[in-house]
């Protein structure tokens, strides 16, 4: 995925949101998948991450939270969520990745004082493939968190429109 608004250094009140995104993701993966996310030593090759789940935020905070990973990671997430062997995972991968994104977004907004009531989430959308552009408002900041799930890269991005 190529972002038309590449993530930039967080400023002002957004500065500590990166850690909130990280904590939100860690809680979702630990509670729902019994898996501890770790931090990578280097940034992942985004061209290898062919699944993107997105949840829109609207209201007091407008933006888009996305989670990118490859098919192997998504299948493993689904396996762990459902408690079934990896070989039994089927078409529910998109549903599972969408729910994970939904929970991370919800968990994140609930951690920001006063935002929970005034910020609504869209149903998740899952995109397969890497050859697309994400257009957001000019100048809107983006926050990116790189993590590893069972050694596989997971990139969480929050594009902030207002």
């Amino acid at each position: 995925m190529k972002s038309m608004t590449d993530p930039v250094a967080a400023k002002g009140s957004h500065e500590n949101w990166i850690s909130l995104i990280e904590v939100s993701a860690r809680e979702v993966f630990e509670l729902m998948l019994s898996s501890r996310l770790t931090l990578p030593e280097s940034s992942p090759d985004l061209s290898s991450l062919g699944l993107t789940s997105m949840v829109g935020l609207t209201g007091q905070l407008c933006g888009l939270l996305s989670i990118r990973c490859d098919g192997k990671a998504a299948a493993l997430m689904t396996s762990k969520m459902l408690g079934v062997p990896l070989g039994q995972v089927g078409p529910e991968v998109s549903d599972a990745l969408g729910e994970i994104c939904n929970m991370v977004a919800g968990n994140f907004k609930n951690k920001i004082a006063g935002l929970g009531d005034g910020c609504l989430l869209s149903p998740p959308t899952v995109i397969t493939g890497t050859d697309y552009n994400l257009h957001t408002l000019v100048g809107s900041p983006g926050l990116e968190v790189n993590m590893l799930f069972e050694g596989l890269p997971v990139v969480i991005t929050l594009q902030i429109n207002s």
């Binding site: 459902l82 549903d95 939904n102 929970m103 919800g106 968990n107 929970g116 009531d117 149903p123």
Partner: protein, 128 residues
């Protein structure tokens, strides 16, 4: 505790399966598990199927969980049936809104089987 007929309402089939698994892990014996992907589907299911417990998401297409809970008042098979909301909408205002609509419990996603147990067992026992 008698075995329970449960209706799980969530637009995610994965989440419905997780909720069912958590109910079983909580030691709740399930006689029947019915599923619906939104409030309209859930009302349709209830026309022909009496249940003992409803677990319901809030953010769903077509009819959301809060509207569904409001409409339960007119459904004979839902009379006195406890509803527990399971949702990412975790603000105090949402909790108050859900309870005022008739929900008996509220679980925030992400959740554990233990949290499901803590919220659902008292509701089934009529202690809330």
């Amino acid at each position: 505790m008698d075995s329970v007929r449960a209706l799980i309402v969530d637009d995610s089939s994965v989440m419905r399966k997780i909720v069912e698994r958590c109910l079983r892990q909580a030691g709740i014996e399930l006689k029947q598990v019915l599923e619906a992907g939104n409030g309209v589907e859930a009302l349709s299911v209830l026309k022909d199927n009496p249940v003992d417990l409803i677990l319901c998401d809030i953010n769903m297409p077509i009819m959301d969980g809060l509207e569904f809970v409001k409409q339960l008042a007119g459904v004979p098979n839902a009379k006195g049936v406890p509803v527990v909301m399971i949702t990412t909408e975790g603000s105090e205002a949402h909790v108050v809104q859900a309870i005022s609509c008739g929900a008996k419990g509220y679980i925030r996603k992400p959740f554990t089987a233990e949290q499901v147990k803590e919220h659902v067992i008292p509701v089934l026992a009529g202690k809330t």
